[in-house]
Point group: C2
Chain length 392, copies 2
Amino acid sequence: MKISSFHPPQRTLMGPGPSDVNPRILEAMSRPTIGHLDPEFVRMMDEMKELLQYAFQTKNKMTMPISAPGSAGMECCFVNLVEPGDKVIVCQNGVFGGRMKENVVRSGGIVIHVDDEWGQAVNPTKLEDALKANPDAKLVAFVHAETSTGVVSDAKLLVELAHRYNCLTIVDTVTSLGGIPVLVDEWGIDAIYSGSQKCLSCTPGLSPVSFNKAAVDKISQRKHPVQSWFLDLNLVMGYWGEGAKRAYHHTAPINALYALHEALVILQEEGLETAWERHQKNHQALRNGIEAMGLKFIAKENERLPQLNTVTIPEGVDDATVRNKLLQDYNLEIGAGLGALAGKAWRIGLMGHASNKTNVLLFLGALDSILTGAGANINSGVAVQAALDYYA
Amino acid sequence: MKISSFHPPQRTLMGPGPSDVNPRILEAMSRPTIGHLDPEFVRMMDEMKELLQYAFQTKNKMTMPISAPGSAGMECCFVNLVEPGDKVIVCQNGVFGGRMKENVVRSGGIVIHVDDEWGQAVNPTKLEDALKANPDAKLVAFVHAETSTGVVSDAKLLVELAHRYNCLTIVDTVTSLGGIPVLVDEWGIDAIYSGSQKCLSCTPGLSPVSFNKAAVDKISQRKHPVQSWFLDLNLVMGYWGEGAKRAYHHTAPINALYALHEALVILQEEGLETAWERHQKNHQALRNGIEAMGLKFIAKENERLPQLNTVTIPEGVDDATVRNKLLQDYNLEIGAGLGALAGKAWRIGLMGHASNKTNVLLFLGALDSILTGAGANINSGVAVQAALDYYA
């Protein structure tokens, strides 16, 4: 054995995440490590909370990053809010709704299924039917922006329905936060989690979460202890809580938190509304190019995420061959289809820092060239100009 | 609101972790983010496994870093190995043994207590008594190097005893790995976890773990599903497993893994034996200085960790005042006592990159000056020379 330092290539990240990381964030991550109880670090934690409250558009005191990836943020919401025997309505329209069901079962809850086809938004009528049929349901959980299909669901309406039937809500905003509106207080979301590596453009590994008073009350009134020690919010808040004495719970991932802080400072500088507009604009340009080629989106027009474009692979074209060519010749990563969409769709991310004109033009030019070379049945040589026309 | 970029001060980290991070590691962490399924990243993962096998001195195939801090590595061991109703003997001689008990209970297991005083090693006779009294026990868990007291226990002997009575073992080596011998295969440890931010000198946030065949067999034969989705090794290994297709489980913390890879490359360059000797040498120099001052160690001589020195606070001296002065005047962090030792002891880390002559001399000079200034009853002005004499 003799292993040397690892020097990764410079890629353009247009998959479902991680997305391109702003160089400012990488630099912030390499600043000197300090202790997790250092007064300077504690000051940074206070700022982090304020920055996350802005990103989530909430005044929730219980707002902080979980020291692990989005999947752990999801698990944090379920293990804290689900008690053994609780009925939980899970709306599934892609991979991540399925993961929510796993979490309910492992937390001792009972899943009530509300299933929609992959590639469609969660159907509010189906949710309301399930709420009517299960008056003892305690929670409703759904994914706002399904990373596996590129579909957005109407979070505001789904939360409203859940509340009408006295359920609390757990909402996955891993892919939506920073890319499209996520209005925690205005929509009344009770528990929410996200990820650092999507539209916040940070490195992967952290999961911002927020809980309102109703959620905190349910957690503090639990009859059974939270099954996870690491994710038990009663303990985590001893460290992250407002005015808390910053009691040691676990060693915080210091440098990863520097990175998230910087990502949120950048978001604050740009402004949420401007960031949402930018995601929308680059999506439109990409869409013009994609449609000019003759390719089709999986999601219906009014249910499309601007930050995650799921496009049907043309007949006769091999999924992996195209993605490998993009990676090898262009250093450009896009995502494969997951689950039901494996081999049938590409997932093209325009998230956070990666949502820019250069990326749109690079990708369209590359895809045009590769598909033309492979003899695919597309309109060749027009995609890039179609995007440029949109920007003009 | 208008929050700016966070610029941490440059500290010398001589607490119980995080320890000083080698600048090479900080630089590695800021390299370009690539995808968690990128072939180049997958190659790095293979190297990571090999480097961790070296650090742990094991051939275990199930060896990898958990994407979260050491506490999550601990939880990973317990939720995977403990089934509801399992009797687990936990040897506690400090804070972290207590955390193990919490994990057993939350995993549905039954704790058999083997308690030793804080500041003493785990007593093998007490463990054997517990094993005899509980022939149906399934697991023995203990902390090799108690971060709260600076005490090392005889891991080899404790594992041997556990095996003699047909128990598997879970061993916490958060503070020992890289600082003193941890010989997983030779000692027969079944499940082990560590942390990135102690003697590996990496940034906090990852937990290397390793499981031998007996542990893997118990996990694959479980009757109840693992209660944590995020930490379920049956799923995690789909991504980290040998020859696996690298099935997506969760998004790996890419840049944090670059950092750990670099930390392990540095360890491999130095060599484990050399690293152990260095920790021993700097501990001896520190000890000479501490004892020349007239201060005392909490741990008995043959039970002391070279990387974590727990020293009694002299009578009439205020704990926090001294630590604050060290931080403010010297940018130097040491640790407070935890639990039973709060206010009674300091924890002085000499871990990984921080275990060096400059740190020893800086700290001794600083402590000498502060205690002398406070009128403490010590031998003033002799500590630094005593350490220098040792190095000479």
